[in-house]
């Protein structure tokens, strides 16, 4: 049901400024991989290669068993869910209509039913929330609606770009629960761009640390912590631990 993703030796530059310098990564079918790293490290550019918002200058991107370039970009994007940082819901559409966007784009006859089902999976009761406008939801509810939109058309891949980064801790927790529930109940392959190592540890099977357009190390968060391959990875963990120590964590 899910599709594997793969990039091999991908290079890309924006007007001569390199953004990706020889990146290779494999995301097995059904896996969730997190991309962490500072701003400008190339993680969003890499994410956008998968749905052809970026066509890299060099290297190959494979979606399932096909080269991404063999897909029509519009058709490809309709098969891949996408959750941006601030939800990107259309402000003038109801939540139900928003979630039904991709089913409608693909001409599915039961778009609204699919939307209601997706809303149920993320814990937003369709009869209570379906008719509201995005501005009538809290930030966490909006991100969950955006998540529902990303799989309402039974997309097998979901790309999340800092999807939960701007939420308070409680809303983020609820959004994480919704993500895990959907993954359990429906199943998908996902690539998750995040600043937050804790989020990567919780949601992702494997984490890739990126810096200056290249991947420094890939592994589970536990592996990365135990055996940092570069000074940057070690520093990343030290800082994250210092931050949680400041909260008085044991």
């Amino acid at each position: 049901m899910s599709l594997a993703l793969q990039v091999e030796d991908v290079h890309h530059a924006y007007r001569g400024v390199p953004a990706l310098t020889g990146v290779s990564l494999h995301v097995p079918a059904g896996a969730v991989v997190a991309l962490v790293g500072e701003s400008g490290s190339g993680k969003t550019t890499l994410l956008r290669c998968f749905n052809r918002l970026v066509d890299p200058d060099r290297g190959t991107v494979r979606v399932g068993d096909r080269d991404a370039r063999t897909f029509d970009p519009v058709q490809l994007r309709r098969r891949i869910g996408y959750v941006p940082q601030n939800g990107g819901l259309l402000p003038h559409w109801t939540v139900r209509r928003n979630v039904a966007l991709v089913p409608r784009l693909t001409g599915a006859p039961d778009a609204e039913m699919a939307a209601d089902a997706a809303l149920g999976h993320v814990g937003l009761a369709p009869d209570r929330f379906g008719d509201r406008l995005p501005r009538e939801l809290s930030g966490g509810q909006r991100q969950r609606a955006a998540l529902a939109r990303a799989f309402a058309a039974r997309q097998q891949l979901i790309l999340l770009d800092e999807a939960f980064g701007a939420l308070d801790a409680i809303s983020r927790g609820e959004a994480h629960e919704a993500f895990e529930r959907v993954r359990r109940e429906i199943g998908f392959t996902a690539v998750l761009v995040t600043h937050d190592l804790a989020e990567a540890a919780r949601l992702a099977d494997r984490t890739a640390v990126m810096r200056a357009g290249a991947i420094e190390q890939v592994g589970t968060v536990a592996e990365l912590r135990a055996a940092a391959a570069t000074p940057y990875v070690r520093m990343l963990f030290e800082r994250a631990q210092a931050a949680s120590a400041a909260l008085g964590a044991p």
């Binding site: 918002l53 994007r77 309709r78 098969r79 996408y82 941006p84 990107g88 003038h92 559409w93 809290s138």
Partner: protein
């Protein structure tokens, strides 16, 4: 009625009248026009009534704004005849100098102007009407007596003790005050710019001692003023005559012969009396004209309607009420013109704004060029169009259309460009095509901004359309132009008040549309925003 039909109705009216302006059959009515001041209205009305009395059909186009507009229209056969003055022909139309041979010689001046206008523009001057209406430098009788002033040379001698109130036009023109000062060595104690409407009162009340007027002004007689003799013949002769279009001289000898009946029949005294009846007593122009033609023995039976006694100067409200039917028709005509131009502008500017938003490159310069168009004064823009489009509704429609393009195109461009960037980007990432993003997201989100542009354009158009009366397009500008020319403030208000109300009405109606097209999240009607 559905909204489309409502929108189509005024457009149909205007297009209908545009079509009706096309080239008519050979026996088309003679188009009689005037410039926007009292004496010009009167002379044009004399031409019109005289032609009608000889069974020649006439169409009246009074109050065409300024010499350029009227002469431009005549040259291109958009009108057939209007009254003009030789001095104006020499300086403002031919731009020729007043050379020594013409000084003080009305015959030679007329011969020169008539010959040159025929050669350069194909326009024919009929033999002069018999009077001059030139610049008249006037003083109070007591000033003239005390200082022994009879000529402009006398004035120059006494100038150091006198304050002048001149119209700004006269102060600025080289054939006005600057030239006059040079010619006579005139050095007045002070020169104050005065509006034409107040200069006679200012002189009578001793605020100033000298004014510039015209020799047939009705007010010269009323205030018992002395006009000083131009003993150096500095001012060119301003002999009045009918000027006729190339078409009329070619095809209508009957009309030419009839108009020539007035040649040498009007003198300055008669014109001064008539002007006074119109400007001071408020007599209807048609009645004054009928009286003149009757006195001259040119028409026998005097038209009963024209004979009607002038209404007593009643209150403003009563006056407005008495004109209600006329005002309603003018307002309807005005509205139809504005809505048709606006609809045509939306049809062009909306796609243009979208196109610019797609291209981006060059959008700034195109929008800038449209904005520049906006800075051309309406009257100049209207004057430009006469050679191409003639006068009447057609050039007015095009001018209003041009003015309306900018606010609509600009707001479409910025509205669509700035529509919720995140929502648009998310839609693209989920596989919405450019077309779907436009119609589902960007246009609905930009709708209030676009409508605001349409509203701006509409209000501008209602105002600009009043100026269209200067080129004979009718509408609520008609009473304004006539009222200004005759210094009749009630008549000005009879156009200005309905025009202002119309602007408010149009703005209000479009505000309603703006609310109706606002996207759901911007409609603050149900207070649902608080639900969590």
């Amino acid at each position: 009625m559905n909204p489309l039909a409502i929108a189509a109705l005024p457009a149909a009216c205007v297009l209908g009248s545009v079509a009706a302006q096309g080239q008519g059959p050979p026996s088309a009515p003679v188009v009689v026009a005037s410039k926007p001041f009292g004496e010009s209205y009167l002379l044009a009305e004399l031409f019109a009534q005289l032609l009608e009395s000889r069974g020649i059909a006439v169409e009246r186009r009074p109050g065409l704004g300024a010499t350029e507009v009227a002469f431009g229209a005549l040259r291109t056969d958009a009108i057939d005849v209007y009254p003009e003055y030789t001095g104006t022909g020499l300086l403002a139309i031919l731009h020729d100098p007043l050379d020594a041979s013409m000084r003080g010689d009305a015959r030679r001046t007329f011969a020169h102007v008539a010959r040159e206008c025929e050669e350069r523009h194909g326009v024919r001057w009929l033999p002069p009407l018999g009077f001059q209406n030139g610049y008249a430098i006037a003083v109070r009788r007591d000033t003239a007596t005390a200082l022994q002033l009879r000529t402009l040379s006398d004035l120059a001698r006494a100038a150091a003790s006198l304050t002048a109130g001149f119209t700004s036009d006269f102060i600025g023109r080289s054939d006005g005050l600057p030239g006059l000062s040079r010619e006579y060595g005139l050095a007045l104690r002070d020169v104050r710019p005065l509006a034409p409407a107040v200069k006679y009162t200012a002189l009578a009340e001793r605020a100033v001692d000298v004014i510039d007027g015209y020799s047939t002004d009705g007010l010269l007689a009323r205030f018992d003023l002395v006009t000083l003799v131009d003993d150096h013949h500095f001012f060119p002769p301003y002999e009045a005559a009918a000027v006729v279009s190339p078409r009329l001289s070619r095809t209508r000898p009957d009309a030419i012969a009839t108009l020539t009946l007035l040649s040498s029949r009007l003198d300055e005294a008669r014109m001064r009396t008539c002007n006074r009846r119109i400007e001071v007593d408020g007599a209807p122009i048609a009645a004054v004209a009928a009286d003149v033609l009757h006195d001259l023995g040119l028409v026998r039976a005097v038209d009963a309607a024209a004979r009607e006694t002038p209404p007593a100067r009643s209150g403003l409200l009563a006056f407005l009420w008495s004109r209600r039917t006329q005002t309603a028709w003018l307002a309807l005509h005005h509205l139809a013109l504005v809505l048709a131009a606006l609809a045509a502008a939306v049809l062009v500017a909306l796609p243009l704004g979208l196109l610019l938003e797609r291209a981006r490159r060059g959008a700034g310069s195109v929008i800038g060029a449209l904005g520049l168009l906006q800075t051309i004064p309406s009257i100049a823009l209207l004057a430009f169009m006469i050679p191409v489009l003639g006068i009447g509704v057609r050039p007015a429609f095009v001018a209003l259309w041009l003015y309306a393009l900018y606010p609509i195109a600009r707001n479409t461009y910025t509205g669509v460009r700035d529509a919720d960037i995140d929502a648009v980007a998310a839609c693209e990432a989920m596989g919405a095509t450019a077309r779907q993003r436009l119609f589902w997201v960007r246009l609905p989100l930009a709708a209030p901004v676009i409508m605001a542009g349409v509203r701006t354009a509409a209000v501008i158009s209602v105002g600009a359309a009043t100026l269209a009366a200067f080129i004979g397009a009718g509408g609520l500008g008609e009473p304004i132009v006539t009222g200004l020319a005759l210094a009749d403030s009630r008549l000005v208000l009879a156009g200005a008040i309905p025009a202002a109300l119309l602007a408010l009405l149009v703005d209000g109606a479009l505000a309603f549309v703006e609310r109706a097209v606002a996207p759901a999240h911007l409609r603050a009607s149900d207070g649902a925003g608080d639900r969590r």
